[in-house]
């Protein structure tokens, strides 16, 4: 299972590098919209998966709406492993304490209604570009 997951991740990572290569060149030249991207859940689904790449001190910012006492679960796969971390802020701007469920999964019960800010942060000490796949589940 672990090997299969790694294999899938490698294919996904390669495809992502190719797909993002041209788009990112444009983005770095011109900049981008200055606000977090909203996590889009398909109708009837409680999970959404996002992929991207980061380098230097970059952080990808996402917003997800949720209600008090819902459970937030985050799965984060990074390549190279450990080069990217996740932080979550509550609608009040406080840090949300995430409980590690495994090496790549964290969860928390949400303290209030509103938009939660998810920060996918590249470890600036890590050279080069890192790839990530983030799955957000809110139940």
């Amino acid at each position: 299972m672990g090997t299969l997951l790694l294999l899938n991740f490698s294919r996904w990572a390669l495809a992502l590098v190719i797909a993002l290569n041209f788009a990112s060149f444009q983005a770095y030249a011109q900049g981008g919209k200055a606000e977090p991207l909203r996590v889009q859940f398909q109708r009837g689904r409680s999970s959404a998966t996002i992929a991207g790449k980061l380098r230097g001190d970059q952080q990808a910012e996402y917003i997800a709406g949720a209600k008090k006492n819902q459970k937030l679960t985050i799965n984060l796969y990074a390549r190279p492993p450990g080069s990217i971390t996740i932080k979550v802020k509550t609608p009040d701007g406080a840090d949300l304490e995430l409980k590690p469920d495994s090496k790549q999964q964290w969860s928390a019960t949400l303290p209030g209604d509103g938009d939660y800010l998810l920060l996918v942060v590249h470890n600036s000490g890590n050279p080069g570009t890192s790839l990530y796949k983030l799955t957000v589940t809110i139940r």
Binding site: A23, S24, Q26, A27, Y28, Q30, G31, G32, K33, A34, E35, P36, L37, R38, G52, L54, G56, D57, Q58, Q59, A60, E61, Y62, I63, D115, L117
Partner: protein, 276 residues
């Protein structure tokens, strides 16, 4: 993401930043080159802006930031007009078929932001709308960074930038001139002029580029008066106090003592002083 409401505090902040904006000298030539390009195309910006009642210069400076003044790109985000947009906002314009004309795409870009419904185009509100066009992420999540979309190339900005949609870097620095900086230089050279309440004087720069339109239409900004208080008078009194031998109470009233001090510095009394 919660929207940012335009409050009197925000109005004051935008006005103060604009008033204290200093363009970096090493960037001045580049800024002037951009303004020359924008003003050369003002008829195209008018053609889109006038039916929507949006000022031409607002469209011009957005065009500069979003599409590097290229009329083959969407005003939304700089994607090519040969297809619908692929970056945020994605899939615009919804109606019609590509390739789009710059004018039809620009109209869509402005309408989806509801800029055609804006009635207050005072300078502070204009700056607010410009920041909104790019996003309030700096203000909401990186308050240590004033938006480079407005202030890049000025004393108000050094580094920190959204390098792609929703991706921020504290060390990245914008290589583009900010929209407020462009407007500031336009105001400095007389292409744009604003009344004391921040409202633009329309028609300036078409046939009057010598910077006197404000005076011609409204007279001097400061007049002799023993009763009226004005923040402009306060500012002038502060400046007069920096000259040797002048000691004025900063009360915002341009009375005889202020007029005397003004005469010491300039050789003449304030406009409207009966002693003049």
């Amino acid at each position: 993401m919660a929207s940012v409401v335009f409050t009197p505090t925000l109005r004051d902040e935008y006005q103060r930043l604009f008033d204290t904006c200093q363009i970096r000298l090493e960037r001045l030539q580049e800024v002037e080159s951009l303004i020359k390009n924008i003003t050369q195309n003002r008829n195209r910006y008018h053609a889109v802006g006038d039916p929507l009642e949006i000022p031409w210069y607002f469209i011009g400076v957005i065009h500069c930031l979003e599409a590097s003044l290229n009329f083959n790109k969407h005003l939304h985000n700089g994607d090519p007009l040969t297809a619908r947009t692929v970056q945020i906002p994605i899939g615009r314009p919804k109606d019609g078929q590509p390739p789009f004309t710059w004018e039809e795409s620009a109209t869509d870009a402005l309408q989806i932001k509801k800029l055609d419904q804006v009635t207050d185009w005072s300078l502070p509100e204009t700056l607010y709308r410009l920041e909104a066009y790019n996003g309030f992420g700096y203000r909401a999540f990186h308050s240590e960074v004033l938006s480079p979309y407005l202030w890049s190339f000025s004393n108000h900005y050094t580094k920190g930038k959204y390098v792609a949609d929703g991706t921020f870097s504290l060390t990245a620095a914008s290589k583009q001139c900010g929209t407020a900086v462009l407007l500031r230089r336009m105001a400095e050279i007389g292409t744009l002029q604003f009344k004391p309440d921040g409202m633009p004087i329309t028609g300036v720069g078409k046939d009057n580029t010598n910077g006197n339109a404000l005076f011609d239409k409204f007279g001097p900004l400061i007049r002799f008066s023993k009763k009226e208080r004005s923040p402009l008078v306060e500012e002038m009194q502060k400046i007069l106090n920096t000259f040797p031998g002048i000691f004025l109470k900063v009360d915002g009233i341009a009375g005889e003592r202020t007029s005397d001090a003004f005469k010491k510095v300039t050789g003449g009394f304030l406009f409207g002083d009966p002693r003049a």
